[in-house]
């Protein structure tokens, strides 16, 4: 780790490790600013996928043969890598899922089974649909109440209102760590402490935080933390649910099938221990192993330098955009990560996004799966540029020029 802290930050060297960045689209050098949707993959992860399917492919946890044992070893090694990275107490607390959405649905189903009529779940007004809809479904199923903590016009959670909504009926607080649309970093450590004071458990949706912040689940003291591999330089189709052992032990299984059982008879089935209790069926073995590789890659980087670089890029982009007439930045929280969402007066985000694409710049447009948040700001959507540590100042300059050109055509 000492190496990674002192390692100087060299964006050129970093870019060389991401082959997808070296391409032209529509005759222009690709500028990839859709990192909030998914990150590009470093060569080490791509190599690991290739290696797994070329040499190690076997089903895990049940084979006596060499390849199965090797694949099992690597899969469980990945689990340990993630445990260490998150500073979880035990590797059994790391459940492999399909991704953040799947993790939240798992909790909504299984933890939800422990709740009863009249109990409350508290979320915020800036949640992604995947941290709204599973709770709505649960509330309908178990007759619970979903409460929503409001935000201010800068896109920050109103803490006083959050406090007022917390009460002894609150059984779970499920909150996004970093808003995918606004970039707002929520003060989750404080929120977790407050929630625990009324006896509520806390789920942190870390889909946008693991790639930007150092996550220590024991320091945060969250009961659940979720993230998706593909947003943190790993493959798609795999993600993680961290849960405290005692909480996970108290929950019934999510899905039934192979691997999650201890003994099956037609009369009665007993369930396997953690983490297997929550991992029915053959998991995404290659995904898990390669996520481990992605986390190793991330831990070899200098996270402080990454944060500084990403903040510099976002501040620079935001300052430049602010100088354009008619541009409104959506999400101006004091604590913010490398996301710049904006709209342009009388111009639809889709039009800007289409013209940026044709100039080689990949951004996201639309509601970003946060329709209630768009309703709050009374806008149809935004143009969102989300930066990663492999992006450069020169790319921001090209992007700004492309925005300027787009506006001049569309006006």
């Amino acid at each position: 780790m000492a190496d990674s802290i002192t390692k100087p930050f060299n964006v050129r060297e970093i870019r060389e490790q991401f082959p997808a960045l070296r391409q032209t689209i529509y005759g222009k050098n690709l500028i990839y600013f859709d990192n909030g949707a998914t990150s590009q993959k470093p060569q080490v992860v791509i190599d690991a996928i290739n290696r797994y399917y070329s040499k190690d492919n076997a089903n895990i946890h049940r084979g006596v043969h060499y390849m199965s044992q090797k694949a099992t070893g690597e899969f469980e090694e990945a689990r340990k890598t993630i445990q260490v990275y998150l500073n979880a107490k035990k590797s059994e607390e790391i459940i492999f899922t399909k991704g953040t959405t799947d993790s939240i649905n798992l909790v909504a189903f299984s933890f939800g089974e422990l709740l009863s009529s009249g109990d409350e779940i508290l979320i915020s007004a800036m949640e992604h649909h995947s941290n709204i809809v599973p709770w709505q479904m649960l509330c309908e199923r178990k007759n619970l109440k979903l409460r929503v903590a409001p935000i201010n016009s800068k896109g920050e959670l109103i803490i006083d209102e959050f406090d007022k909504l917390l009460n002894n009926k609150t059984k779970l607080v499920s909150i996004i760590h970093i808003s995918n649309t606004l970039g707002t970093i929520n003060p989750v450590k404080d929120l977790i402490k407050k929630a625990h004071s009324v006896g509520a458990k806390v789920l942190i949706d870390g889909a946008q935080s693991i790639q930007h912040l150092k996550i220590d689940v024991r320091d945060l003291d969250c009961d659940f933390y979720t993230f998706s591999s593909h947003k943190v330089f790993g493959p798609t189709g795999i993600g993680v649910l961290y849960g405290k052992e005692a909480v996970l032990d108290s929950m019934p299984p999510y899905q039934g099938g192979g691997d999650m059982i201890s003994k099956v008879t037609f009369e009665r089935t007993t369930y396997n221990e953690l983490p297997h209790k929550f991992e029915a069926g053959t998991p995404h073995i290659a995904g898990g192993i390669c996520l481990g590789e992605a986390i190793r890659f991330l831990s070899s980087q200098n996270l402080n330098a990454i944060q500084k670089h990403e903040k510099y890029l976002a501040d620079y982009a935001q300052d430049m955009l602010d100088t354009f007439e008619g541009v409104r930045i959506i999400g101006e929280a004091k604590e913010k990560t490398s996301v710049v969402s904006f709209i342009v007066n009388k111009i639809h985000p889709f039009d800007i996004g289409t013209l940026l694409d044709k100039q080689g710049v990949a951004v996201r447009t639309g509601h970003h799966c946060t329709q209630p948040l768009m309703d709050f700001f009374k806008i149809p959507g935004t143009v969102r540029a989300s930066f990663a540590f492999y992006n450069t100042k020169e790319e921001i300059e090209t992007f700004i020029a492309a925005v300027e050109k787009s506006i001049s055509i569309l006006k």
Partner: protein, 141 residues
């Protein structure tokens, strides 16, 4: 000019643009010039909700010919609507229902009619064809 000649005319117009941005500038101009739908007809039943942009479509049949008017909140979508209307308006219901709108592909705009783009255009074309089919069934009754 028959419907095939109209498609060919648009393809020819687009051959002069060798740059994507020029092509889009032209589409945006068409969007700005589009004769939009009568505001009283911008009702929910005429709304086609896309994930990215929204489209309103009004269909009339006059003297056995299809007359479409449409609008969108996004200008590029409006420009492409303009092209579709130019090709399909004043054609018989049978022609609208059966014509393959190949010009969209030929001028390189097929991405806008892909199901993943979700800008309402694909649904609009489907609804235009459905309305034409209904009209043709009515006329043969």
């Amino acid at each position: 000019m028959n419907i095939e000649e109209k498609q060919q005319e648009i393809i020819d117009e687009f051959t002069i643009y060798d740059d994507w941005m020029e092509k889009y500038e032209y589409i945006i101009e068409l969007g700005k010039e589009l004769e939009t739908i009568d505001p009283t007809k911008k009702t929910d039943d005429r709304l086609i909700e896309g994930c990215q942009s929204r489209v309103w479509l009004n269909t009339d049949v006059q003297e056995g010919k299809m007359r479409f008017t449409a609008d969108s909140d996004a200008i590029i979508t409006k420009g492409i609507i303009g092209l579709l209307i130019r090709v399909l308006n004043n054609e018989t219901p049978e022609t609208v229902a059966k014509t393959d709108l190949h010009f969209i592909n030929d001028i390189g705009l097929q991405e806008h009619l892909s199901p993943t783009r979700a800008n309402g255009l694909l649904s609009m074309v489907n609804r235009m064809k459905m309305d034409a089919l209904k009209a043709s069934m009515k006329s043969t009754k």
